[in-house]
Amino acid sequence: MSLLVKDKMLADCDVDAPNMHILLKPEVLDKDDYYGAKEAVIDSSICLECGMCRESCRFGAISETFNMIPMKCEGCGACVLVCPQEAIRLEDVKTGETYLSNTQRGTFSYALLDIGAEGSGKLVTEVRKKITNHKKNEKWLLIDGSPGIGCVVIASITGADAVVVVTEPTKSGLSDLERVLGVTKHFEIPAFVCINKYDLNNEISSQIERYCENNGFSVVGKIPFDPSIVKALQEFKTPVEAGNSHVTDEIISIWTKVTEKLN
C-alpha cells in the first residue's frame, strides 16, 4: 500500500519487531532516545535496610540485600514513598529509540524498543506523535500495527479512521481475528478484513467470510497463496515491486473499497 497510495505518511508501530525500515531504506532525519519508563535506585550510603521498601514492592524488585532488580522494577515509586530515609529515588530509563526519516514513499516514523523493555504502548504513541508533528499536507497516514490485542495494538489503532485486519485461513487465524475485531469494536473503530493466502484452505476462508458477514465486517480483499511472494520478499521486494500484477490489483482494490466505505 505504501507504493500505491499517494499523498501519505508512514508509521511502523510494531515497535517490538519493526520490519518496514528493512524494505523502505529510510534516510534518517532525526533520531531520539526515548525515556518511557522509570526505575527506582537505592542510595546504599543512606539506606538503613529497614525493609519497608521491600514490603511495599508488589513486583518483588528489591532483593534480600537491598539491590534493585531492574527487570522486575515497574518504576511505580511505592518504595520511594515509604522509605523513611529518603534513600530511594526514581530515575528515567531509556526504553527505546525513535526515528523520523525520509523515504521515496513519504515521511516515515518508526522506533526500536530496547530489548526486554517496558512501555511498548507508550513508545507507539511517541511514534505517532512524531509523525503527526511532521505532517505537512498529507492526506493519509498508513500505520503498520503489531500482532496481539494488548497495549501495543490498542495504542496503534486509537484514533485511527479505519483498521484493516489481515488474517489467514487457519483455525488460529480465525481465532485471532475474532479477538482483534473485538478490540476494534470495543474502541468503535471501523474495521475491514483482508484474507491473505485465502486459497490455502478454501473452507476456512468461507468460514471467515461467514463470520465477518454475520458480525457486520466487510471482507475487502482476498490474496492468494503464491510462493513467488515469499521469493520476492527474500529479495526485499514487495509483491507490487516484484510486478505481481494479480496481487497488486487486489491491493489496489482493497484501498479503493476502504476509502469508498470511509467516504
Binding site: D16, A17, C76, G116, S146, P147, G148, G150, S172, G182
Partner: protein
Amino acid sequence: MKIAVLSGKGGTGKTTISASFAASIASCQYIDCDVEEPNGYIFLNPDIQRSQQVKVLVPEVDKAKCDGCGACGTACQFNAIAVLKGEVLLFHEICHHCGACVIACPRDAIYEQERMIGVIEANKNDNFLHGKLNVGEPISVPIIQELKNLIKKDKPVIIDCSPGASCAVVQSIEECDYCVLVTEPTPFGLHDLEIAVQLVRKMKMPFGIIINKASDDSKLIHDYCRSEGIKILMEIPFSTEIAKAYSEGILPIQKDIVLKQKFEKLYEKLVRGEYQ
C-alpha cells in the same frame, strides 16, 4: 525441565513448534503464555475442566474522606489517576496495581478493589493451561505471572510465548531452563531472530534455534548462526502439506512419526545438557 519457545516475529510457527514439542514429551505440561492470542488449544484439543478469573487490584476513592489534594495523582507514575478541580478520575485499564496511590493518600481515602482482566483455563490435571486477556485490556503481564505460578515442578514444561521481545516475553521466559527460538528463512525472520537472540543473551539464558519453513534460502539463517556460534537444533522443511494441516489445527508430528521422534530426541538432549 522448563523450556520456553519464542520468536521475535508473529507467524513463524511458534505455536506449531511448542505444541508439537509438548505432544512429543510424555506427561508434559504445556502453558500458553501468548495470552493476547492463545492458539495452542486449537492443536492440543484440551478438555477444559476449570476456569479461574485473573484479578488485579485497582484503586477506588472514598469520597467522604477525599479532600481532592491530588497526592494520589502525583504519586501515580502511569497516568492512571488524574485529579481535576478536586475530583479524582480513575483510569483502571492503565493501572499497574502497585498501590502507590494508597500509600500516598494522607487521608486513607483510597482503597483497592479487585478487577477481572482475564481468565486462565486448564484441563483436569493442569497439563494444559492457557490465559486469555479480556478484549480491550492493555496489560497482560499479571495473567502470565498467574500462569507461571501454576507450573508443576516435577514435570517437563513447555511455555509458548507471545511474539516480540517486550515485558510479556521477559515474564514468560524468566526462570526457564532453556529457550528455543523459532525463525523462518526470510530477511524479516532473520531481523526478528536477532532481536530474540539479544533478549535471551541479555537474560543469560541458554538457547538454540529451530528453523521452520526451511528451504534453499535457509542459508541466510545458517550463516548468521555460524558467525554467532549459535546451535541449530532442528529444521522443519517448508511444505504446503504441513501448512494445510496447520490450517486445520493438525500438528506436523501427527502426520510424520519421524518428526515426532526428532522432538523426543531433542528433549532428551536438552535434559542431558548437550546444548547448554
